[in-house]
């Protein structure tokens, strides 16, 4: 079992090396990158905006409902919403959701190409299929921090709307709290995490799709396995990066 996992990890790193070998011609690659930006980034914006806005609102309401002691100032609602959204919700939990949304899309599209011999066709033609299929996804996901930036803004905005119009706090208190003790490095920390998660989101589902064997049923299974492993990796890296960047 352990040997199998180690062998898979080794294969994953060999795949990473191969992705950067023998680049596809730039005019072709440019089109592929734009297509991936559309498929992975633009198509994800709707769900990210929706979830961020409402979860931000819920965080604000939950915080307000737990501040029962009258000595605790109301501006803490804004403070807690900002910290939760910037540090964890936007970079980590949106990434776990994207492991399901983007990840299953990547695994199933590459897996289907494997099943229908399209990847063999690329290889036989002399195309580096890993570079052709995975490299544009990695480049497209360099824009992922923008998605997370939007998520951060909408999460806090949702918290402000829910807090103010739900009667839990005043606009001034919320904004004061959101600006209180702001540490700019937290934003840097969040975006460093986001970039690492973007790399995981592009490569782990690609790995599961590219090396899958079998037919249509196995494509579905590979998508599920890919979601599990991408989520596990995101959570593990979240812990390691938090310890490294904030723990010392």
């Amino acid at each position: 079992m352990l040997i199998r996992y180690l062998s898979q990890i080794g294969r994953y790193f060999l795949m990473l090396k191969e992705i950067f070998n023998k680049q596809t011609k730039w005019p072709v690659m440019r089109q592929l990158i734009f297509k991936e930006i559309d498929d992975l980034i633009i198509d994800s914006l709707g769900i990210v905006c929706f979830i961020s806005f409402f979860v931000g609102g819920v965080v604000a309401i939950q915080t307000a409902l737990n501040l029962t002691n009258p000595l605790i100032p109301k501006y803490l609602i804004g403070f807690a919403t900002r910290q939760s959204v910037i540090l964890e919700f936007a970079p980590t939990f949106i990434s776990v959701i994207m492991a399901g949304k983007m990840g299953s899309f990547i695994t199933s599209s590459i897996g289907t190409m494997r099943v229908t011999e399209q990847i063999d066709a690329l290889e036989v033609m002399g195309v580096n299929s890993l570079n052709y299929l995975v490299f544009p996804k990695i480049i497209a996901l360099l824009l992922y921090p923008f998605v997370i930036g939007i998520s951060m803004f909408l999460g806090i905005f949702g918290g402000w709307l829910a807090g103010v119009y739900g009667g839990f706090t005043t606009s001034t208190d919320f904004i004061d709290g959101a600006q209180m003790d702001f540490i700019p490095f937290h934003i840097t920390y969040a975006f460093i995490k986001t970039l690492i998660f973007a790399m995981l989101l592009a490569t782990i589902p690609s790995f599961h799709g590219y090396y899958m064997k079998g037919g249509a049923l196995e494509v579905g299974k590979a998508s599920t396995v890919s979601f599990v492993w991408t989520s596990v990796s995101i959570i593990l890296f979240n812990y390691i990066l938090t310890q490294l960047l904030l723990g010392s």
Binding site: P27, E117, Q118, M125, G126
Partner: protein, 253 residues
């Protein structure tokens, strides 16, 4: 010309190819036939470089594949056209984009020149109105013709076809067979076809390699198949009553 010398390939304990040696000639339709599990697909995939043989060599016009460096191997692969069993067309691209793909990847031709070449090969395979259709919008026979067009668009020296007739009706099968043979002659390429279809053997079998349990059991032309007394090939080719009667009629003159 492709020369295969003493090719051996195993998967675990299973020896699939046991010292196959043969020559696939230029300008001819070379067929690999044999029962399921005889090693046809492994031989074809070894020729394509998808499988690495355990023993033996494959020479493409004097170039030993295993002795080429990775760049030379990729270069050689650009000289290969392949028609897959399931066509393997890129389903997110239109017919014209599929055919243009090798040109966009490996040439510096401008759009107008690529379009001209795509129009020419699509016309050559009798597909003139399908440029903008997706593979899912055309029939199996048309998909095969698109796959052939894509395989020949880059003027390959070697054309490989894996079961080009599978899933096609007899009429379309014959059309595909004839098209492959015409293209082979027209461009003087080395064509290797992996098939189960006895109609193809009788139609276009100019050099037939018969595999049995990983060994080359027979090699000859479609005319020689009628006269041979090799029990294995006779049993395989004449397993249907129709072909038995055809053979009897041929032998009676």
């Amino acid at each position: 010309m492709i020369e295969v010398k003493n090719l051996e390939k195993s998967f675990g304990d299973s020896r699939v190819l046991k010292g196959v040696s043969t020559v696939f000639e230029t300008g001819k339709t070379n067929l690999i036939i044999g029962q399921s599990g005889s090693g046809k697909t492994v031989l074809l995939k070894s020729l394509l470089g998808i499988h690495t043989p355990d023993v033996g060599t494959i020479e493409f016009d004097g170039r030993v594949y295993s002795e080429l460096d990775p760049d030379e191997k990729r270069e050689l692969r650009t000289e290969i056209g392949m028609v897959f069993q399931g066509s393997a067309l890129f389903d997110s691209m239109t017919v014209a984009e599929n055919v243009a793909f090798p040109l966009r990847m490996f040439t510096n031709d401008n759009k107008a020149k690529i379009k001209e070449r795509v129009d020419f090969v699509l016309e050559r395979v009798n597909l003139v109105d399908a440029h903008k259709k997706l593979p899912s919008e055309i029939s199996g026979g048309m998909q095969k013709r698109v796959a052939i067009a894509r395989a020949i668009v880059n003027n390959p020296k070697y054309l490989f076809c894996d079961e080009p007739n599978s899933g096609l009706d007899p009429n379309t099968s014959t059309l595909i067979d004839n098209l492959i043979q015409e293209i082979t002659k027209e461009y003087n390429i080395t064509t290797v076809i992996n098939t189960h279809d006895m109609n193809s053997v009788m139609e276009i079998g100019e050099n037939i390699v018969f595999l049995k349990k990983g060994i080359k059991a027979w090699q000859g032309t479609k005319e020689e198949i009628f006269r041979t007394d090799n029990k294995d090939i006779v049993k395989f080719v004449y397993s249907s009553n129709l072909f038995k009667k055809v053979r009897e009629a041929y032998l009676k003159g």
